[in-house]
Symmetry: C2
Subunit: 202 residues, 2 copies
């Protein structure tokens, strides 16, 4: 909710680009708050661009200028929770955060990601390409898993192996398995651990 226009920047590193005008900043937070209010009041479906504009008391054009598109707005919304999660992974308590051994961290990571994705499934879907992919969550996760695999002494094309581990946790696949085929979440998690075991080579 306090993102800068350029998205989450964990190390601010004094931006070179011109700052935001005050009205622009004011409207950004008004819009995000309005959108959030709409989301957990009427569901993601109800978050219509006109509705958000009205709820925030601004013109429709403003919404698009700030967030590019509906997907962009959804991505911004997603970013809020994603950033918290990211912080938990990078600097929270073990075994998700640093401190535990890499294998335990990996398993915990998988479980946590699974839950998070399922929890935000509809928001992720609404965010489309602007969401998990091309942005925060995705590249961060790849980086993190890649790092854990390295720590575990895995050899091979690490970026690709990381993606292989992450792909079955993507929203569309999970959606299909849980909502349509009715798989138990617990079973999916066990399956993922098995996959990790095979990839890591234990």
């Amino acid at each position: 909710m306090s993102d800068t226009p350029q998205g989450p920047r964990l190390l601010p590193l004094l931006d070179a680009l011109p700052p935001e005008r005050r009205d622009a900043a004011r409207n950004r937070v008004a819009l995000l708050q309005a959108a959030e209010r709409l989301v957990d009041h009427c569901g993601v479906e109800a978050v219509t661009m006109d509705a958000v504009a009205a709820e925030a008391g601004v013109g429709k054009g403003t919404v698009f200028r700030r967030f590019e598109s509906r997907e962009g707005l959804m991505a911004a919304l997603l970013n809020h929770s994603e950033t918290e999660w990211q912080a938990a992974v990078m600097s929270g308590p073990p075994p998700l955060g640093p401190g535990a051994d890499p294998w335990e961290r990996l398993i915990t990571f998988g479980h946590s990601r699974l839950e998070t994705v399922l929890h935000h499934a509809d928001l992720i879907r609404a965010a489309g390409r602007a969401g998990s992919r091309s942005y925060a969550a995705y590249s961060f996760s790849v980086m993190h898993v890649r790092y854990l695999l390295h720590d575990l002494g895995v050899t091979g094309d690490l970026p690709l192996l990381a993606v292989a581990l992450l792909a079955p946790l993507e929203a569309p696949i999970l959606d299909q398995q849980v909502r349509i085929e009715g798989f138990d979440v617990e079973r999916i998690h066990r399956g993922w651990v098995d996959l990790a075991r095979r990839i890591v080579g234990r």
Copy 2:
């Protein structure tokens, strides 16, 4: 292009539900042909419901009655090529079709799937949920891989392992890797073979 209203039915098995009226059938093929013409003439983007209706010389309502939605129409379009591919896998020449040993079939399958998905990337994307998932391609692929894994003597939760093998070949992931991160297709394939090796345990 010659799909029945219920989609591809490889064994016709004398449908119990009432047949299609002649005008309906005529319009279905007219619409599919019109859509196909538009696709490879102006690209998927240009396939607007109004445009298809106009091109086929029917009313817009008819398009929706036949295909439910734009995604449904795209899925129907996809189905054409998917069905051919499916046939090649099930009864074409080895090593993709039956005859080769399971490992070789699996590798060939991966390669073929990779190419196919990339080739139809935009159509798949336009088909959304109605496309690969919940339909022909997806469940067929899972089934096939599951079967090959079984043949290879792999033990464990086979449906889940099959999904793990298929997930990295899904369109959004491939799109990201190839179009955005600029990975070489050859590299992705090598990575997939490595993944298969680890899962199968060679």
